[in-house]
C-alpha cells in the first residue's frame, strides 16, 4: 500500500533521513521506533507531503506522492493523528469530526462514519457540543483519532500516540487500535513507547539518526537484545 523508496529528506540545510526504505502492506499495523531526533516526525511529515524528499520516491497505491501537497495526499486516503494531537481547539467536538470528513469522498458518508467513531469512543458522543479545547488529554487524543478516521483513510499514521497520557489511558487507546486493526484499517505507528507499539503491530522498523537500523517482525524486535536495552528499558 505504502512504499518508501530510498528517500533523502532535508530540513533546511540539514539532512534528516538518509536513503530510507520501508513498506506498509494493506491491513498491516507497522511500528516505527526511534529516540528523540531520530527523524520519526520528519518521516511522518514526508509521507504527508509537508516535506518533499530530494531523492527517492514515495508510492501510495502505486502512485508517486512525494512531491504532492498535503491536501491532495489526504484526499487520496492517508490521514494522520499528529504528535500533540492538534485538534481545532476553538471548534466543537462535532465540528472537529466534520473537518475530518472534508475530502469530497468522505462527505456523503459523514453520518455513518460518525456513528462508527461514536461507537469506538462513546465519550465523544456525550461531548459532541463541547468546545474541543476543554476536553481532557485522553479525550483530545480520542478526538484526534476520530477526526482522522472521519476521512475514511486507507492508511492511518499515528504519531506519538501515548505522549503525555497516563498508562491507563494509553492502554485504552491501544485497545481501540487493536479494534481498528480487526476492522481492517492499515496503520503506521510512530512511537517512543516501544512495548505498547510492538505488542499491537506485526512488523517494526528501528530508526536511528535518520536511517533504518533494524527491521523485522514485532515478535523478533521485542526479543532483540539491543532493542530491549535501548528502547524497552529492560
Amino acid at each position: 500500500m505504502l512504499e518508501i523508496k530510498a528517500i533523502d529528506v532535508f530540513r533546511g540545510e540539514a539532512q534528516i533521513l538518509w536513503n530510507l526504505q520501508m513498506k506498509v502492506e494493506k491491513g498491516e499495523v507497522v511500528t516505527v521506533l526511534g529516540a528523540n531526533g531520530a527523524g520519526k516526525t520528519t518521516l511522518v511529515e514526508s509521507i504527508l507531503g509537508i516535506h518533499h524528499p530530494k531523492k527517492g520516491e514515495i508510492l501510495f497505491m502505486d502512485e508517486e506522492i512525494s512531491q504532492k501537497p498535503p491536501y491532495l495526499i489526504t484526499q487520496m486516503g492517508i490521514s494522520c493523528v499528529p504528535e500533540g494531537r492538534r485538534i481545532f481547539k476553538e471548534m466543537t467536538v462535532y465540528e472537529n469530526l466534520e473537518m475530518g470528513a472534508y475530502p469530497a469522498k468522505a462527505r456523503p458518508l459523514l453520518k455513518t462514519t460518525q456513528d462508527w467513531v461514536f461507537s469506538l469512543f462513546p465519550i465523544l458522543k456525550e461531548r459532541r457540543n463541547q468546545i474541543a479545547g476543554t476536553l481532557s488529554g485522553g479525550e483530545q487524543q480520542m478526538l484526534a483519532i476520530g477526526r482522522a478516521l472521519m476521512s475514511r483513510p486507507m492508511l492511518l499514521l499515528l504519531d506519538e500516540l501515548s505522549l503525555g497520557l497516563s498508562p491507563k489511558i494509553t492502554k485504552g487507546i491501544y485497545g481501540t487500535i487493536r479494534k481498528l486493526h480487526q476492522e481492517g484499517v492499515t496503520m503506521l505507528l510512530i512511537e517512543q513507547n516501544a512495548t505498547m507499539a510492538l505488542l499491537h503491530s506485526q512488523r517494526g522498523y528501528i530508526l536511528e539518526t535518520g536511517r533504518i537500523a533494524l527491521q523485522g517482525s514485532s515478535q523478533e524486535l521485542l526479543g532483540n537484545e539491543h532493542i530491549r536495552k535501548a528502547y524497552l528499558g529492560m
Binding site: Y71, T74, S79, R86, M91, E95, Y102, R147
Partner: protein, 286 residues
C-alpha cells in the same frame, strides 16, 4: 430626546457598515496573517465604481451596487494571486506590499476619478417617521437593512458552510487544516476576495449617504483596524459590537462635542482598549 435618538440611529447605521468593513479586515488577518492596508482604497473604489456604473454607464443603482462589489472581489482575488501569495511566510513583506499598494491605489483613484467627492444616486428617496419622534432618510434605513442582510449572510457563511469551517480551521492551525484535505491556497484566495468584497460592500452602501473621495481611504482603513482591535482579533461578534460602539460614539461625539474631533474618539477608544484589554472585547487572551 428626539435629537439624541437621531444621532444614535446615525451611529447604528454607520456602526453596521463599520462592522462589514472590519469583518473584511478580520477575515484576512485571521486566515492569512496579512494586514491589508489597501482595505480603504478598495472601499473607495467600490464607491466610485457604483457612481460611474450608474451615472456614466446608466445602469440602475440596484445593479450597479452588486456589480461594483463583484469587481472589487475580482480585484481582491487578483491581489492575492499576484502580490500576496509570493509573500506567505513573511508577514513583513505582505505588510509593505499592501502599504505600497494603498498609496498606488489612492493616487490612481485621484488620477482616474479626480479629487472631488462623488455620490452615486440613492436607491430610494423620502423619509420615514420613526416612532413619531423624528424623520429619518429612507436611503439610510435601506442601507441599514442591506448591511444587516450582509452581516447575517457572512455569519451563516462562516458558521455553517464547508467554506466557513475551513476558514476557521485554517485560522487555528494552517498545517493541520491542509492535512484535513483543505486546499488552503484556494481558500486563501477566495477569502482575500471576500475580504475585499466586504470592503467594497461597505463602500457602495455608504457612498449614497456620504460621498467618497480618494483621500478618505486612509481614515476608512484605520477605522476598520480600530474596530478589529476593539472587538478582538478573529472574532466576528467582536467586529459587530466594535463597529457599533465606534459608530455610535463617533456620531454622538460629533454631535455633542465637535465634528472636528470625529476621528479622535476612535483613537481614544483604541488607546483605552490597548491599555486595559489588549485582546479586545471578544478576543482570546493569549
Amino acid at each position: 430626546m428626539a435629537e439624541f435618538l437621531m444621532y444614535f440611529t446615525n451611529g447604528l447605521v454607520i456602526g453596521v457598515i463599520n462592522a462589514i468593513s472590519a469583518i473584511g479586515v478580520s477575515l484576512i488577518v485571521g486566515i492569512m496573517r496579512v494586514i491589508n492596508f489597501a482595505h480603504g482604497e478598495l472601499y473607495i473604489f467600490a464607491g466610485y465604481f457604483s457612481y460611474h456604473l450608474s451615472l456614466t454607464f446608466g445602469l440602475s443603482p440596484i445593479l450597479a451596487m452588486p456589480l461594483s462589489v463583484f469587481f472589487i472581489f475580482l480585484i481582491g482575488i487578483l491581489m492575492e494571486r499576484l502580490l500576496i501569495r509570493p509573500t506567505y511566510g513573511d508577514e513583513m513583506y505582505s505588510l509593505i506590499i499592501t502599504f505600497v499598494l494603498s498609496i498606488v491605489l489612492q493616487n490612481s483613484a485621484l488620477l482616474i476619478f479626480g479629487p472631488y467627492p462623488n455620490k452615486p444616486p440613492a436607491l430610494i428617496s423620502g423619509s420615514t417617521q420613526i416612532f413619531g419622534l423624528f424623520h429619518y432618510g429612507n436611503q439610510r434605513l435601506l442601507s441599514f437593512g442591506i448591511s444587516i442582510g450582509i452581516l447575517l449572510f457572512v455569519f451563516y457563511l462562516i458558521k455553517k458552510t464547508w467554506f466557513g469551517k475551513s476558514v476557521r480551521a485554517i485560522s487555528q492551525d494552517r498545517e493541520m487544516a491542509s492535512l484535513m484535505g483543505i486546499d488552503h491556497w484556494r481558500i486563501n484566495m477566495i477569502s482575500f476576495g471576500l475580504g475585499a468584497a466586504l470592503a467594497g460592500s461597505a463602500g457602495v452602501i455608504i457612498a449614497p449617504i456620504f460621498p467618497v473621495t480618494p483621500t478618505g481611504s486612509s481614515a476608512i482603513s484605520l477605522t476598520a483596524f480600530v474596530v478589529v482591535v476593539l472587538g478582538g482579533m478573529g472574532s466576528l461578534k467582536g467586529c459587530v459590537v466594535g463597529g457599533l460602539i465606534l459608530g455610535i460614539l463617533e456620531n454622538l461625539g460629533a454631535a455633542y462635542v465637535s465634528t472636528m474631533y470625529r476621528h479622535i474618539f476612535a483613537f481614544i477608544i483604541l488607546i483605552l482598549v490597548l491599555v486595559f484589554r489588549p485582546w479586545g472585547l471578544f478576543g482570546q487572551k493569549t
